[in-house]
Point group: C2
């Protein structure tokens, strides 16, 4: 990954200019674009800002934007030139050489490519006199110039060595542009590349751009193709992020900058055609539980058929097993106070645990050293953005290996329970500000891919957007991320929002029967739900009601049949789920009813 320079526009991050620069540097960026309003909001002279950047190891790659410069009547153009010359003054003081001019939105602008080219050539000549240069960008909502190829025609017409293109992936893809044409642009005309991803939204490009941009890999644009074409054309400038997003604009810039740079590292991998990590299934799930409420969790595990098969040799940690599913329950750290139960770690199986962990570190996930006694396993772990750990475990535990983690548990003599096949999925609810980061972590570090589009769940206390991510292969690792669409306030509960662990069972009725017989108070959503189920043609609704089974039927008729525990230890619930006919989702249609019942039970 060496050689490529990574940049970020200060407009991507929240805070004062000094906050933004510090965050960009801490995340390892090489350069920044100075967004003019950030400069205007700073009392520091440009020389001091330059020094601050230099001290942080940041190159100022771009000064942006200079607006409404070209294709203007003479008097208006004269005013443009005054603004441009002032920008050049500031740039000299900042020590940066490239300015971005975006295509004019001025109502006085004339639809005349020759005039635009002539005026831009004039600006470029003045820039060249000072050793500066101009990168011209087509805004998707430019008055007359709004596609990258149109901006390229004008740059070609102007034919000045100090005038080149700024290619912005958002503007290009938002207008349905074809990036392959970039291959035929001479490298010495490709001055700058701004990268942003975005979800495909059927809305006006201006608000789409100003509110919904994402970092590469978080949206629907094919940025790998775009940077591939730029590479082929010989572009050797930085990949620089310019992402306007309502959430990132007010999120802590520290983690946001890490997320941003991870997106570029992921893009490099993708461009290099890396196959990504191989994960083969869930080794175990670790729950951290307050000792005061841990019985709620372990009683539920037992009722689902789990047996406590091991006690950790040196820690307050127990191992619970049923079929292929393993759950590790540990006491919450003593200095944490009384805290709700939480999914503390997801352990995945992989052919080369050290390689997976090392790759995570390269993608900026902090490696978490795990204290262990001399003869205990050396588990590899990195931390997700929300602090959850990713354990990297071997595919088959092997007593000869240093990462043979089951050996850390003293057998209780109990045999693993039956009736459970494995872990179906883990559902996490990252904090509002970290959803995009959590997604990117799953996609890049863990190697999961989204299954279907995000689903909006009409939860009783506000919309929740959920999405399933899964690895490929016969025994997929599945993680559901869900988060409220609007940050919760005083009325709506849900901080921290519930998490869950779902176990795959071959027969949900049997699992329910056994759990109920064991005294587990499975969530009962009440008769209105089952009457509706029957009316929708689901067979044996009375049997389902008796077993408290919820059923989500997808459009193909495939079913997600599941039972759910109450919220345990203050935050976590368990599910037993039977997927019928290759049902591929995560039961989102049932979520509102389930949430209402959970909420009612907590009142």
């Amino acid at each position: 990954m060496a050689g490529r320079r990574h940049g970020i526009a200060t407009a991507c991050l929240s805070g004062l200019l000094e906050d933004k620069l510090a965050a960009a540097a801490a995340a390892g960026f090489d350069g920044v674009e100075i967004f003019v309003p950030d400069l205007l909001g700073s009392p520091e002279p440009p020389e001091d800002i330059a020094r601050r950047c230099a001290d942080l190891g940041l190159v100022i790659d771009l000064y942006q934007p200079i607006r409404d410069v070209e294709a203007l009547p003479p008097d208006a153009f004269a005013a443009s030139l005054r603004r441009v010359e002032h920008a050049f003054d500031v740039m000299e003081r900042l020590g940066t050489s490239t300015a971005l001019i975006c295509s004019s939105v001025d109502p006085r602008a004339i639809d005349d490519d020759d005039l635009a080219a002539e005026q831009l050539a004039e600006v470029a000549a003045r820039a060249a006199d000072r050793g500066l240069r101009i990168a011209y960008e087509a805004l998707a909502w430019g008055r007359h110039v709004n596609t990258w190829d149109h901006s390229w025609r004008i740059v070609s017409l102007a034919d000045h060595p100090a005038l080149g293109l700024c290619v912005d992936s958002f503007h290009l893809y938002a207008r349905g542009g074809d990036p392959s044409g970039l291959r035929s642009v001479p490298a010495d005309k490709l001055f700058f590349c701004q990268l942003a991803d975005a979800p495909r939204l059927d809305m006006d490009v201006l608000p789409w751009s100003r509110h919904h941009r994402l970092f590469p890999g978080q949206g629907d644009f094919d940025l790998t193709a775009l940077v591939g074409h730029l590479d082929a054309a010989g572009y050797d400038g930085p990949w620089s992020l310019e992402v306007f997003n309502d959430v990132f604009r007010q999120a802590d810039p520290g983690p946001a900058a890490v997320d941003a740079r991870r997106s570029l590292l992921g893009l490099e991998e993708s461009l290099a055609g890396s196959a990504g990590p191989v994960v083969d299934g869930t080794a175990f799930v670790e729950l951290a539980v307050d000792p005061g409420t841990s019985a709620e969790v372990t009683d539920a595990l037992a009722a689902f058929g789990f047996a406590r098969t091991g006690e950790h040799r040196s820690k307050a940690v127990s191992l619970w097993e049923a079929g292929g599913a393993r759950v590790v329950v540990r006491d919450a750290l003593p200095d944490a106070g009384s805290v709700p139960a939480a999914v503390a770690a997801l352990a995945v199986r992989t052919p080369d645990p050290e390689a997976l962990a090392r790759r995570g570190v390269e993608l900026l996930a902090p490696r978490v050293p795990l204290p262990h006694a001399g003869d205990e396993a050396e588990l590899r772990a990195v931390a997700a953005p929300d602090g959850t750990l990713l354990f990297c475990c071997p595919e088959r535990p092997d007593p000869g290996r240093d990462d043979f983690w089951p050996g850390d548990f003293r057998p209780t003599g109990a045999r693993p329970g039956t009736g459970v096949e494995g872990v179906d999925h883990v559902a996490l609810s990252p904090p509002f500000d970290l959803v995009a980061e959590a997604e990117l972590f799953l996609r890049t570090v863990v190697g999961l891919a989204p299954v279907g589009e995000p689903t909006d769940i009409v939860a009783p206390f506000g919309l929740v957007r959920g999405r399933l991510f899964a690895s490929s292969g016969a025994d997929p690792v599945r993680v559901v991320l869900s988060s409220s669409l609007v940050r919760r306030g005083g009325w709506a509960p849900g901080v921290p929002a519930p998490q869950s662990v779902a176990f795959a069972v071959p027969d949900v009725l049997a699992a329910s029967r056994a759990a109920l017989d064991a005294g587990l108070d499975l969530l009962d959503v009440g008769p209105n739900y089952y009457a509706d189920l029957a009316a929708r043609g689901v067979a044996d609704a009375d049997v389902l009601a008796e077993h408290r089974v919820l059923v989500d039927v997808d459009p193909t008729g495939a079913q997600y049949r599941h039972v759910v525990t109450p919220v345990l230890g203050g935050r976590v619930f368990l599910e037993a789920v039977q997927r019928v006919d290759d049902y591929a989702g995560f039961g989102a249609a049932d979520a509102p009813v389930r949430m209402a019942a959970h909420r009612r039970a907590r009142r």
Copy 2:
């Protein structure tokens, strides 16, 4: 306003079904639409829900929605009928007679009006057998039927007395429908009217509908026209709100329901052609200030030329005057603890204070009784959603009237200051959940109208949306509402966000000079801003810099020239502003720089 029935769909409000019903009843609604998912999420049998509604004085006006019923192949229609019969069972238990069927989005639906009509007639016949009826609604994204007139053609074709129309203002206006055609629909075919407003957004209708609906008067649709046509056609059913909005979905349903019903009361006024209240200018602004920091506020007032002209006879309140501007400063209530300074009240002048206050009460604003000694003025006041008071004052204080408020102040002997003409505006920052309510309060109770569109301010810690509201007339009351676009979290500061009071001055340079000479540390945003101002062609930037004057230039060249104090008493800042050439905005372009400087000063 008597006679008209007001309804609300449970889907509009946040919480469990019982929360929603309680809030609707408390706000004075006559009826509700039971949204099926709310029923499914309730463990109560329909009879109990019916009893709950009856106990609350709520009629169940509608059961909704039944989806994907019509224009289907025979086997699919048979399944529809099973769902419909189940819905009828539930309706009988709920004691409601009208069900909503919305036009099919089923991919199997056939584009055949005759088939749709035939199947709907069959459904209507089954409804009629039970004494029920069907209101058919065209979803804006219906597969084949997506305009109201198309739904009317099908209802006409079906020609069954138990089948009529549900008119939904969102679906009608979102598809550019013309409501005047409703006049020719027979009254006995107008079964139901669902009302929602919305901002005009250039986006796909489905997410527009699901996330951005508003209550009437909060958006851009002409709901007065629509209900006028329905009235003309003889519709006599309820006006029932169906508003899907990301914020309302998780806001406290109590105030949200009040806001909702206020919107219908406002619509009734509008339909009746009421001219609305007359307000003639700002009588005074009241600031509540913690005694520990009140000198910060009063020193700034003095530096802007205000003189303390009176002390309240019985309260810890002082009156400050300069030119036509009056500010009342009162100690924060002793039981409030140490609190930031805040705009406690806006006092407006009106020809008939009691009428204005009474009208506010009719619009659900609580009247606030103001304790006063026997010979003190009896001021009329109602509370805004955020708790700010609206005082209703006479146009000219008259010692003979019971509301002669200046008589409550013992003169200090000081004469009012000079150099200030009056209050230019007050800027409030309502809590995130209450922005739409605050807007509706200003529009309906105070009678202000929005000036221009909302403006997105790229604030250092996240987007802020600001909008100016003003009364008409020579001496307008102006209020700016601004609020973060996304609810603030841990990183971004701003709860409570700053408020401000701006005073109109004839010469901002003179005002600045006087304030600086008086020792007021006017906010200085630094040289980068002034260099940019000069480059943009604003004359005498060096003089402006010296006087710390910020200048916003609108597209016509009109200027908003203002100086700003630091944040005082923890929350409020003061401005002196000179509007040049009828500048009509509120200086939004300068806000990011101003906010950065304020923020920096507080670190």
